[in-house]
Symmetry: C2
Subunit: 709 residues, 2 copies
């Protein structure tokens, strides 16, 4: 991003003046509601309604046109544009010439409304680029910035200040979040509706909010990513500074091509992008709300051990059930903690985790037990569960718990199930900075996300490895295939590309005579297979016209003669060039798929899985290129079938480093050859001594092919 644009984004969030183009005296018009909201939120700078016909709007002097804005206010002025779509480009140009450098376009009628709208958006993008305007929208609900006392949205109500920096690609979702937050007294540092993203997008928000001192956690709702590499850079940098929680709609959108088992949803690329940049993905919409609370109120837990204190009997077990699925564990209390708990509890109750304080527990009993649990060094976080039956006692609970000594800032979350009977206590928990949930499961989910974030922060820096390779040889193979008008390369050409990058491939050699066949077979070392020469590798299990398991020279000779005689005349070929001789698959080898495919936003996506598990269980791991060494290791370990590689039932493990190498080299090929749309090594046979590619397929992108010709 140019440095000046970055400054202009600052003007968006902290303008010295605000002008509203299309300000109106009609309370039904958005241009009125917006001006009213700005006034109500107490924006301290100058406010200029702009309307060619009105003199005064909402008590303010109205200007006729942007050029009437006093010169000293112009550069750091935020322009809020509530004009009909057709008028916007002209107005934006006028603003740009002033110069005004930050604008938000509220109105609709752009690309969502057909071709004409698409043209308008292209114009806006060009204007914003030329004048380096920090431009939000079109179709934005507006933005709020607590530190600037700015509410430039047309949503009813107002927002409280808080620690969450929020952005949303969907105006509907932004409005819902606004309304929810007002209801819950949940506050924001910044609240931004991105709208149509002709200029500023989610990546710009990540970059800005990461350095915004008022923002403790970044939360976003996106439907796509405008610029993959930019997103990756901004997200990776932001998550090192603060937690980033994103929800992405459209899990079912599109799928990658590939062999049948590999037709997986393109949404996997988002999983990979989020995983590699440390973004926490909210899986359900409600998770956004739950996690925003937890992250903005609490410090991160330093470990997975949870203490549960409640009066809900076995409902504590529900929290324990959720732990099972999230990577958290129930803490083992120390003897000292158990002693302390026993003083809080009736004599007949055992002091174990989850702690059950019994139905009619007092606030004092709660506080005593919470203190004991919180002080146990084995406890990293605490969930407080209170049922409505303890009602009278509930209202005092938030203050009692938030006053407990908690020098290590262990996160405390509360769960209160019910309705009106718990609503006051819920509000108080909020006021005391303790997030409070209506059910145990979302509380545990949020805590688990916080724990993962703490692991991410402690993550060391990635290691990258360069491999020896002959790029020119690989390019020659691709160009030769292109010259033959091949879009899909298998066999010889695919092998050539892999071999040029020193990926170990099945040794398959052409024997033109029986004697050559015997010689090659000897070189292979074990039993071999023979098949008629063709540029295709013999896939495991593919036996037509082939002789398998040949152990001695006589067998090889006989097979050669047989294949040559059988296949030659029948196929009517004048020149039989010979037989391909190759080693048989090692026994107990495991069959894998290592591949990459290309995603529209994120570019090359590496895929890894075990054949036979991918299709049945979607058991696939996924990372974006370029891979680091850690990424490659994680890809292997992340599939659920990993124990098959690591050696089940005393079986010897396969050589994992050989697989990491192949993944890393594929990553490099993906980067080196943008013209390769898709590369699938399938099967790759791995055993304790190494890994070999037994079959491979390369798909060139038609566009790239055009260029090569």
């Amino acid at each position: 991003m140019p440095a000046r644009l970055h400054n202009n984004i600052a003007a968006l969030f902290a303008p010295k003046a605000v002008c509203v183009l299309g300000a109106s005296r009609d309370p039904a018009k958005i241009g009125h509601v917006l001006l009213r909201n700005i006034l109500r939120a107490g924006y301290p700078g100058k406010i200029f309604p702009i309307n060619p016909c009105a003199d005064k709007i909402l008590g303010l002097d109205s200007l006729r046109k942007p050029a009437d804005i006093p010169g000293e206010c112009r550069p750091l002025c935020l322009a809020v544009i509530c004009l009909p779509a057709e008028q916007v480009p002209e107005a934006l140009c006028e603003l740009g010439r002033l110069p005004t450098r930050a604008a938000v376009i509220i109105g609709a009628g752009f690309s969502e409304s057909g071709e004409r709208g698409v043209e308008l958006e292209e114009k806006l993008a060009a204007i914003a680029r030329d004048f380096e305007i920090a431009l939000l929208g079109p179709n934005s609900v507006g933005l709020c910035v607590a530190a600037s006392s700015l509410n430039a949205t047309f949503v009813e109500g107002g927002l409280l200040p808080g620690y969450t920096g929020f952005f949303s690609q969907s105006g509907a979702f932004a409005a819902a979040m606004f309304d929810w937050a007002a209801d819950k007294n949940f506050g924001f540092s910044s609240f931004v509706s991105l709208g149509g993203k002709v200029s500023l997008d989610e990546s710009d928000m990540l970059a800005y909010l990461a350095d915004d001192p008022h923002t403790k956690v970044i939360v976003g709702y996106i439907e796509d990513v405008s610029d993959g590499p930019k997103f990756l850079r901004c997200a990776h940098s932001a998550t090192r500074k603060k937690p980033v929680i994103l929800f992405k709609a459209g899990r079912g959108d599109g799928s990658f091509t590939g062999s049948p088992g590999m037709r997986v949803s393109q949404d996997l690329a988002y999983d990979a992008a989020f995983t590699q940049t440390g973004v926490i993905r909210a899986k359900e919409i409600q998770d956004i709300f739950g996690m925003a609370q937890a992250f903005s109120f609490c410090s991160l837990p330093v470990g997975p051990a949870l203490g549960v204190v409640g009066n809900g009997g076995r409902i504590g077990a529900v929290a324990a059930d959720s732990c099972l699925e999230t990577g958290l564990v129930l803490a083992h209390f120390s003897d000292k903690t158990i002693e302390r708990l026993e003083t809080c509890l009736p004599s007949y109750v055992s002091a174990r985790n989850p702690v059950d304080l019994m139905a009619r527990a007092t606030a004092a009993r709660f506080a005593g037990a919470c203190a004991a649990v919180l002080e146990d060094p084995a406890v990293n976080s605490m969930l407080l569960f209170a049922a409505a039956s303890a009602r009278g006692e509930l209202d005092g609970l938030p203050h009692a718990v938030s006053s407990l000594p908690n020098p290590e800032k262990k996160p405390i979350l509360a769960c209160l199930m019910g309705g009106a009977g718990v609503s006051q206590a819920r509000r108080r928990f909020f006021e005391c900075g303790i997030p409070c949930y209506p059910f145990p499961e979302p509380a545990i989910k949020s805590l688990a996300a916080m724990y993962r974030q703490s692991l991410w922060k402690d993550n060391h820096m990635p290691v990258e490895i360069g491999y020896r390779h002959d790029k020119r040889r690989a390019r020659a193979a691709i160009e030769q295939a292109a010259a033959e008008h091949l879009l899909e390369l298998s066999g010889y050409y695919a092998l050539e590309v892999l071999s040029a990058y020193e990926i170990p491939c099945l040794d398959a050699k052409l024997a033109r005579t029986e004697a050559e066949a015997v010689q090659i077979a000897r070189h292979c070392g074990g039993p071999v297979a023979l098949k008629i020469a063709s540029p295709h590798i013999l896939r495991k299990g593919e036996t037509a016209g082939a002789a398998l398991n040949l152990e001695d020279p006589d067998e090889v000779r006989a097979a050669f003669a047989d294949i040559a005689s059988r296949t030659g005349p029948e196929r009517g070929q004048a020149n039989i060039s010979g037989c391909i001789v190759q080693a048989m698959a090692p026994k107990n080898a495991r069959e894998l798929v290592l591949a990459f495919n290309r995603h529209n936003s994120f570019g090359p996506v590496l895929l890894f899985g075990l054949r036979g598990y991918i299709r049945l269980f979607d058991d696939l791991s996924c990372r974006l290129a370029p891979l680091s060494l850690d990424d490659a290791g994680d890809m292997l370990r992340e599939v659920r079938a990993f124990p098959v590689l690591a050696g089940l039932d005393g079986q010897e493990p396969v050589k994992l480093t050989a697989l990491e190498d192949i993944l890393l080299i594929l990553s490099q090929i993906a980067v080196d050859f943008p013209e390769i749309q898709e590369l699938e090594c399938n099967p790759v046979l791995a055993d304790p001594s190494g890994a070999n590619v037994w079959g491979a397929r390369i798909l060139l992108s038609p566009a790239a092919l055009e260029n090569l010709r």
Copy 2:
């Protein structure tokens, strides 16, 4: 259940009089709160406070003792007991002698408080049994019955009448549900806190509520099931009449024993019990609330096709994402529907499912689009999604939508995200009988559960098959093993049991001479394996001291001699009895596990899975015995690895009926031999021609063994 007890349960739900033992003038006492709640709810029958010291309580004449209740009121009187635990048995006896036949014990201090409490509970159970008292509790929060205008709980607030019959084993959860419902104006036909279940339990509630004309859907929270067979009977009968939704806490409780891959959670038995009886399992606590609304307001959808109408742009895609995971599908609109939608929509918007009415859609536009979607024959249900931005229009929406013609009663669900801005519209949806959710995912989950329920209702009756078997021969093998003090049977004895039930087992015969070995090998038909005689079956892959893949008589003879010479002297055995000769495993056979284990509440649980997938993916299906033919078929098809059986990549499918037979026979063995704790056929080799048990292990229950000796 004895017929009289059934009548007495009716007295619990529709008492002609109510007495409160331990009624109190002190507003802090439960005995006061309870009496006050009964009065406030307007119970029309006689109310008798009972207190040895007071004359008047809350304006009512107080009786000194139960015997003072007038004779004509006694039999159909409900006694609410708010006495200290120690006094309860005596009081219950007194009531029983009156005779009073329905009682609820509110107080705590029973089994949860130690040994003395356990004794008290045993006494209560005996008294209830002797007098056939319909007894709730102890430790109950009480019960509410709308049709009787009865609120005999100590919870603050009151409940509205509705269609949901609710019970909870947890008092804390009951209180939370009560509070939530009061807040949401959600009503109940009956609301029952089961408490300690010394007498009445979840099964009794299912039996009663299934026939209760005021109840349209049954919802329950349980922590365990008191009596497995009783539950199965009651649940199966109830779900044929109305939907039953249960949440069970404690997913991680206990695991079955078995070989390493088979150590799965005992909670699986609940999954099986719910599946086989048609109970809908709520996986998260919030699902209870969401599903209760949907089932009590809506009719069931007749198919999976959903129409989505909303103004939230791509948020509709979130609903579509959820459909992917639940078995619902997005409906394909007819041309007529698309035409009609186009008249509701701006010209530039395409009319596809999910329908996006654009941000500022009016109530009229919503209604028009909903009418079109609802009338499309391809649509089975509709989700209406409205974002807060359409606020002014939202409040009119519930009435507009609920007034649409809907002759087929297709279920309509609504989703409104936000806070105060949507709360009025949410309430109105409720009042119009349209369930309304704060997020799209729970709405889709509820709809999916309704669709599954509609399938269950249409389910035909199960088919049971009797198989030929020789029970006496199986019993003899078990007794012989018992005589040898074997708890675990493998090899010969296990085979004997399976063979007695005509389960096909690997043919493994003892050859005492080379000649015999050759003869047996010839009989096997294909390549054979030889191993030293032992009562254990040769497992596939087990090669120590064995010769494999012997194809001709010479090889067999040589192997026999070799094994006899090699193994005999080394092991120092005086009598080498010979070699076991058995067929080699067929090529391309698939390796399966078919087993049963025993659950404390539900008895024998059948388990099925493919080796290699069970451990890695928990890919196991589970049903309770006795199995029906459909159950057996479902077990095979339910595992995710089923395509491996059905034939991946053109592979021939295995003979599924052979596997169904084995499962059905195992079910029969489980029923016939309660002394078998666990039986595992592992591996079972299946191919297109049939299935054979290649290894089996039977674990006897120590108690049963004791009896056999």
